[in-house]
Symmetry: C2
Subunit: 228 residues, 2 copies
């Protein structure tokens, strides 16, 4: 008689992890590198994508847009001839504040995976729950705008701790703010020692070449096993 | 024989509403007006409170601080000799992204209700879930920083729709941004027609007298039945 012991999924995060693994297998099968891009509302995720989706190196980028309602960001990226797929979270519990693995799973049939090398999933603007739900990504990138203050790594530690790259955005505004960049970087180092970061301005373009290069090099880095 | 029909609470939002009503009864009994103050991370809730907690009119203000972790904001307000009580949401599901009525209920025994006329509940920085959970407040105020962009009312409609006052903060930065104030106000009007708003800068102090006056006048407005 066949006997086996199965550990029952304990909670919603376990179930999410199971579905995230299934997503990851689908992405791997199609040889697509996946980035989960997160930030507070208005930090500049879409503006930084507008600066980076056109990859001179021939890497083909697609975007999966997560929003509570509407398609404002997707419309901006589609205008750049980037393949964009929209998910809205408002049918959920009053409007879900994050993407989870099952929402991304539902979108997979609509994604042109054969036509892209890199998929960026732009999460709902929120510094809490998106950090708790993996969606099948290879790497997590977050945007922290200098207008939000130096204390954010200390106040939203899980988000800052679980990402591989922090884009410190809106640095064109530094001369007009009381923001202490050294203190911000010390707070970041305390929460996520050694994490990569880039100082960028989506508005002026400063630093965005480095961001475009980081993103474009991700598929090769993953193929070389650096982050698998 | 006694017979009664009881409607069973249907879901977590029903349960929340029940507890919010109990909180409201406790606040009413102590004659305390309550504001639920909400915004995205880094929009300036605490800085705007620093500008408004000292009420020349004799209205005594207390603060209930909601954060995922730490007490950075509470420390800032306590330095102004304001009674402050801290709630941290991190024992919840990986760090709750909002306050709910039950968390506020748990804090009530620690609140100096007999010593304040007005309690401001500073919610967790998030534009989605805080709008879904009433906590027993009389009025909801949200802060939207101009650095976040004109599209925010359209992207986070429930938050903008359910508040009685919008503080449009960081207007000192307007000369350095591409932000179109008229477009923002048109988006706000589309989502919440006729809602009150104030243009403010916590940094320069511009507009903060009007905010302090709005807050200080709330107990009398409520006593006159304007918002009950």
């Amino acid at each position: 008689m066949h006997r086996a012991k199965v550990r029952v999924a304990e909670d919603v995060l376990d179930a999410n992890a199971t579905i995230a693994r299934a997503n990851r297998e689908d992405f791997d099968r199609e040889n697509v590198a996946v980035v989960n891009l997160m930030s507070a509302p208005g930090a500049g995720k879409t503006s930084l994508l507008e600066r980076a989706v056109e990859q001179p190196g021939g890497v083909r980028v697609g975007v999966l847009e997560g929003d509570v309602q509407g398609s404002l960001d997707a419309d901006r990226l589609a205008a750049l001839h980037t393949p964009v797929t929209q998910i809205n979270t408002d049918p959920g519990f009053g409007g879900e504040c994050h993407l989870d693995a099952n929402m991304v799973r539902a979108a997979i049939p609509a994604l042109p995976l054969a036509e892209v090398d890199l998929l960026v999933i732009e999460n709902v603007g929120n510094l809490v729950c998106p950090a708790e739900f993996r969606v099948g990504e290879d790497a997590r990138v977050m945007v922290s705008a200098v207008t939000e203050g130096e204390d954010k790594p200390l106040k939203y530690p899980l988000m800052f701790r679980t990402c591989e790259l922090v884009l410190v955005n809106k640095i064109d505004l530094l001369p007009h703010l009381d923001f202490d960049l050294d203190r911000f970087l010390a707070n970041l180092e305390a929460i996520n020692p050694g994490v990569d970061y880039l100082l960028v301005s989506a508005r002026s373009g400063e630093g965005t070449n480095a961001w475009r290069e980081w993103l474009g090099a991700l598929p090769d880095r993953l193929a070389a096993g650096a982050r698998r």
